[in-house]
């Protein structure tokens, strides 16, 4: 690792200060305590203010931003200053932990602890009190609605990445040949990435909207097209099992831009000489694409596809905001999890579903770490 060369292994002791006298040391300790108490008081006052319901909202928001942004800078500066006050012998051994410490603490609280906790919960009853063995997992793999959600999720995992990556690849290849306007065309495809699922859901409700006869005119785009073609309007989101496909369209719409941008960067990185050599040898444009471009960007395609498969595995909001999933048969696994935690009030089942999700992602985790180690060995 090139990093180690600059490390404190060559730590110079030249900046050693004269040892502190006793009174100065006491003064420093006293100052530290006073500052710490003052800061703690100030913080508790501020958070009390932020929580109060009748305070001016704009002011609360402003204070929140200042405290949040300033607080984290102050945290590191303060800890670093405390380290500076330590005896020089320990200083450089402690400092690295001051730098990585906050990250490690937050990660253990917010990721490591929950994983362990969820695994424990998945073996307990609905209120998380008594152990019930594998009962929750049995539910996950036998309940009708759960099985439907697993079927649907598998559909999401196959279809969404396949379609989004195909369109993204085709678009990136074609846009690469535009004389001008490539950037503009690409950002139009990319634009839905900046929109929230809640926003996208509304956007697409406007497209799928259906009103039965006698309940007003149909203002949804698709039914507008149907009427224009002289057909009857269709209740798109109630057509089992096709409604699953219609929901997947939303995710394809949102994610294609991502695949397109990443693949486009990979295509541009294919060396010119190879492409020209192939053309000189008489390869058609399609052959160049299939035999040269695709193989050279294959690693990128794999990474993008993997990422999208994981996203599809965890899809939740699209189906959640589009209405009652059980009556329309559009359940997905992550949505079932939220359902059992919040609406079904059964933390055991919810946790069991979460564990199943987690186990499904573990192979990717292994691949991830392996890839990192390979990169590390190249460095």
């Amino acid at each position: 690792m090139s990093a180690s060369t600059g490390g404190p292994g060559v730590e110079a002791e030249t900046f050693e200060e004269a040892p502190l006298s006793g009174s100065a040391l006491i003064l420093r300790i006293a100052a530290t305590i006073v500052v710490a108490v003052g800061v703690a008081y100030l913080l508790s006052e501020t958070f009390g203010f932020l929580r109060s319901r009748d305070a001016n909202r704009a002011l609360v928001v402003l204070v929140a931003i200042v405290v949040g942004v300033g607080g984290v800078f102050f945290l590191f500066w303060g800890m670093n200053t405390l380290v500076d006050w330590m005896p020089a012998r320990f200083r450089e051994h402690v400092r690295p932990y001051v730098f990585v410490g906050p990250a490690l603490v937050i990660l253990s609280i917010f990721l490591v602890y929950p994983v362990i906790n969820t695994i424990l919960l998945s073996f307990k009853d609905s209120r998380g009190q008594n152990y019930v063995g594998l009962q929750n997992f049995k539910f996950v793999f036998t309940d009708g609605s759960m099985l439907r959600s697993i079927r649907n999720t598998l559909g999401w995992m196959v279809l969404v990445p396949a379609v989004a990556v195909s369109i993204g690849l085709a678009f990136a290849t074609l846009a690469d040949r535009l004389r001008r306007g490539e950037a503009l065309a690409k950002s139009m495809i990319f634009l839905p990435m900046a929109i929230s699922f809640a926003g996208a859901a509304i956007t697409f409700r406007l497209i799928y909207s259906f009103r039965p006869q006698g309940f007003g005119s149909n203002i949804g785009l698709l039914n507008g097209v149907m009427l224009g073609l002289g057909q009857q309007p269709v209740a798109w989101l109630q057509q089992q099992p096709w409604n699953n496909l219609y929901l997947m369209v939303i995710m394809v719409w949102m994610q294609t831009g991502f695949a397109m941008v990443v693949l486009s960067a990979a295509i541009k990185a294919v060396p010119d000489e190879i492409l020209e050599a192939a053309r000189i040898d008489g390869a058609s444009e399609f052959q160049v694409f299939r035999r040269v471009i695709i193989p050279s960007i294959l690693p990128t395609i794999v990474v993008v596809t993997t990422y999208m498969v994981i996203n599809a595995l965890k899809v939740f909001d699209i189906v959640f905001v589009m209405g009652n999933t059980e009556t329309s048969g559009t359940e997905v696994v992550a949505e079932r999890m939220i359902y059992w935690f919040f609406i079904g009030a059964n933390s055991g089942r919810g946790a069991a579903i979460a564990v199943v999700l987690f186990v499904a992602v573990i192979p990717v985790m292994i691949a991830n770490v392996r890839r990192f180690r390979e990169e590390e060995s190249i460095r």
Partner: protein, 319 residues
């Protein structure tokens, strides 16, 4: 991008020597009509949903409910078919103004905090020597795949009533639920693995000679980090900042679980979801609200597009 959407993966797009820039040098046969028309059709299809929302949000309620939005193209300049009322109603009665401010109060610190913490950690992982450096770093990267949904419930319980492991109290009851601090910390936790990974890639690839000479001149780690590393890492920091900001701004799940849906504290996505459920057929308000929630992400996206794309092809930031 939202709850179920993981943060972007790390994709290595190593630019090969002699790679083409964005402007071809006339070597490729530039496409003819087929290419241009295909691109145009795809772009139009992709824009239709957004255009529909935009147009609907400026139409009066009675027209929205009787005719499709595409009918405006028949008489685009008839004044009576356009209005700004929807936005006024959504902002005031719909509570969107409040929600917009709450979203800011959540998103800005929830972007700055993880980046700062990750940058310090990335610097330590790259340029400081300490025990367990490699193991700790691999552990951080491994956490990339913990599904957000899996972490939410235990954290919520911890916020509400503290945490205990096998009966031993390990975390005090801080009463963090429903506070901004709680949401900031949650978003920080979920965003850290990727931030540390990306930033370490970048900071670790800075030339070691710079850091060494700074140390020769007697600068300590804190000064080197603040005066040298941060300015040099602006592209990587900006790229991640944009991601994190858009992710937090568009997030529904974390805000819903940790901040709650009461009108006082709810963020934009929650207000939107609420409108979506309770006023299913008030399209003119829904679309106006949707567009208000999209406005800031779109501005951020278009003004910082360069960094955004660079962040997506991260790994090549290694440069």
């Amino acid at each position: 991008m939202s709850d179920t959407i993981e943060r972007p993966p790390v994709v290595s797009v190593a630019p090969a020597p002699g790679a083409r820039g964005s402007v071809g040098v006339g070597e490729v046969r530039k496409g003819g009509w087929f290419v241009r028309i295909t691109i145009l059709i795809v772009v139009l299809i992709w824009l239709i949903p957004t255009v529909g929302v935009l147009i609907t949000s400026f139409r009066p309620a009675d027209l929205v409910n009787t005719t499709g939005w595409w009918t405006v193209f028949a008489h685009p300049f008839r004044i009576a078919s356009w209005t700004l009322d929807n936005y006024r109603v959504a902002l005031d009665a719909g509570g969107l103004k409040n929600a917009f401010m709450n979203s800011l109060a959540v998103s800005i610190p929830a972007t700055v905090i993880p980046i700062t913490i990750a940058a310090f950690a990335a610097y330590a992982f790259s340029w400081m020597e300490f025990r367990g450096r490699f193991i700790l770093f691999v552990a951080v990267v491994a956490l990339l795949v913990v599904p957000l949904q899996m972490a939410v419930i235990p954290i919520l319980r911890m916020f509400v009533s503290g945490a205990s492991f096998f009966g031993i109290r390990t975390f005090p009851d801080l009463d963090l639920n429903g506070t901004f601090l709680g949401v900031w910390l949650a978003h920080t936790g979920f965003g850290l693995p990727l931030a540390v990974y990306l930033l370490r890639n970048y900071i670790g690839s800075l030339p070691s000679s710079i850091i060494e000479s700074a140390r020769m001149d007697g600068a300590d780690h804190f000064t080197i980090f603040w005066r040298l590393i941060v300015p040099l890492s602006v592209p990587a920091l900006a790229a991640f900042a944009i991601f994190q900001f858009l992710w937090v701004w568009n997030d529904l799940l974390v805000a819903y679980v940790f901040l709650g849906g009461t009108r006082n504290v709810q963020v934009l996505t929650l207000a939107l979801a609420g409108l979506n459920g309770s006023r299913g057929e008030t399209w003119q308000l829904l679309t106006a609200a949707a567009f208000i929630s999209m406005a800031l992400p779109l501005v951020v996206f278009f003004s910082l597009q360069k960094y955004f794309v660079r962040g997506l092809t991260a790994g090549s930031v290694k440069g």
